[in-house]
């Protein structure tokens, strides 16, 4: 059983190898986390998965169910962003990127846009199809706002919301596209411990909405709390993969975070 698998993924920018021969699998119903020191290439991985960057080599495979319930691998390597969204990957950004001058509701509606099936031509005049879709979309958008706890802020401008709610709205916007896989890029950045705790429960609850979550985060406590599997990157290459408790004790990981001396001190102290 697999949801998404990344095979030998590599990207070069000029001479720099940002991600080097990366392999990992995401399983359905699980939270997979991608961690590593700054500059390890985590966000670059998300950018490749969502079609912002085209990998130099390697494959990204998404498994879809066919009519009989069999798993069918679909190669989404190098697909454009709009195709990737249609196939069921949706993301948030490290530094919040909401549509700042639009209301919370409109933000959600934009997230939903690829499922709203009336075109630009029908947008130009009132017609039954447009009205039907708009009504339906609005109702659904309100539902999504309720899920992320923002139903009171539906008509507020996105930038007027407090920081924590902006994060939630961004997640809501990503959910609105009905993704199979949700990619969260540092959702806890800038939050205080209480907010982080709430967020970690919230992220867990998202597994009811999507088939799998890929999480990038710096906060180790949060990561260890909620991840089912952790993939550790350093300088673009995978150095370790496993359950939280396995990763925690891995020497290479400690070395990547603290340097060689850190390991020695750990050893001598222990």
């Amino acid at each position: 059983m697999s949801l998404l698998s990344v095979k030998n993924l590599t990207i070069r920018f000029g001479g720099l190898v940002a991600v080097d021969n990366l392999n990992f699998e995401m399983e359905p119903g699980k939270i997979t986390s991608l961690i590593g020191p700054n500059g390890a290439g985590k966000t670059t991985v998300i950018n490749m998965l969502t079609g912002f960057y085209t990998p130099t080599s390697g494959k990204i495979i998404l498994y879809e169910k066919d009519g009989k319930g069999n798993e069918v691998p679909v190669d989404i390597t190098g697909n454009s962003t709009d195709l990737v969204v249609k196939k069921g990957l949706s993301r948030t950004f490290q530094n919040i990127r909401l549509f700042s001058n639009m209301t919370a509701l409109d933000n959600i509606l934009v997230g939903m846009q690829h499922r709203i099936e009336y075109g630009s031509f029908l947008s130009l005049f009132p017609n039954a199809q447009k009205n039907k879709w708009e009504k339906q979309a609005r109702e659904e958008a309100i539902e999504i706002l309720k899920k992320v706890g923002l139903e009171d802020a539906a008509y507020e401008r996105a930038t007027s919301l407090p920081y924590g709610k902006q994060r939630k709205l961004e997640i809501g916007r990503a959910l609105a596209s009905h993704p199979k896989v949700l990619l969260l890029d540092e959702p806890a950045a800038g939050m205080n411990p209480a907010e982080k705790k709430e967020l970690s429960q919230f992220i867990r609850s998202l597994l009811n909405e999507v088939e799998g979550i890929l999480l990038i985060e710096h906060d180790m406590k949060l990561i260890m709390d909620i991840s089912d599997k952790i993939v550790v990157l350093n300088h673009g290459a995978k150095i370790c993969e496993g359950k939280p408790e396995e990763v925690q004790t891995n020497e290479e990981v400690i070395e990547a975070y603290l340097g060689k001396k850190g390991v020695q001190r750990n050893v001598t102290a222990g």
Partner: protein, 329 residues
Amino acid sequence: MKTILKKHLLFLIIIVVMCVAPVFTNAYQLRILISAALAMIFAMSLNLLMGIGGTVSFGHAAFYSIGAYTTAVLWYHFRTAYSTNFIPVLLVTGLAGLLLSLPMSRITGRYVTIITLSFAEIVNLIIKNWDPVTLGQMGIVGIPSVNLFGHVLKSKTEFFYLTMFFVIMTYIIMNWLVNSKLGRNLRAISNDAIAAEAMGIKIFPYKVIVFTISAVFAGIAGSLYAHLMSYVEPSTFNSNLSFQCISMVVIGGLGNFSGTMVGALFLTILPEYLRRFEFLFKYRMIAYGLVLVIVMWINHSIPGTKLKNAVTSRFNALLHRKNAEAQEA
């Protein structure tokens, strides 16, 4: 229903005042009103591109001139009526908009501005030098009044109401467009193109659409202009016309169509009013520039618009909560 009324109150007031006005005006004032109505269509079309599409265009006069010249050239060579020319005007200006949008597949941000400026210069140069078709520098003179399917609009009052019809249509269509998937996605792109891409929006087709629609409406205004003035000449459609149009949009607030109408009305009437004062006569067009600087200085739209937005958003939120409570109960 009430909220709809509230949202479009300013628009309704303008329309009612404008439509009643011909009863009180003399021929000269009526002419100014027609110019203002044309400016409204023209500026609203730019507002779609700037306020909703997020593209600062320095070359919007190009579409206006293409609309004016399409009508004028067709009349000159084939003696066709306004109503016959209408569809060709839409097609030619739409095509011009489409053409200008093509480089946008590769070009973003500030480079768009220079492309629009260059495009307008090229259009103007073509008009100036394509003598067999446009009669070059001489311009085309003697364009008759509007002929609607055989009915000739003899008086300027009739012409005025035709123009007002187009003003109303433009406003209504713009509103339909803005409150639809198309408008939402356009606003999303102009807010944050990368986030819009991440939501699965393909940016380029939207650029093509917004440029085309915007061009078509500017063309409608331009073709009416040709009939109003009864002549067209290339020098009218210079970059100053584009900048004046920007002033009208900016004064009313980007993305705010009824505001744009106020801006167009204000900036058409003000210079005419200033004509009365002999010492100001020569400098009356400074008003356009002063308005831009002052408005940018104060609040980048009519003072208080920001406040108004804040108030309406609170009001809507409240209203929504009330509705939700009512539903639950």
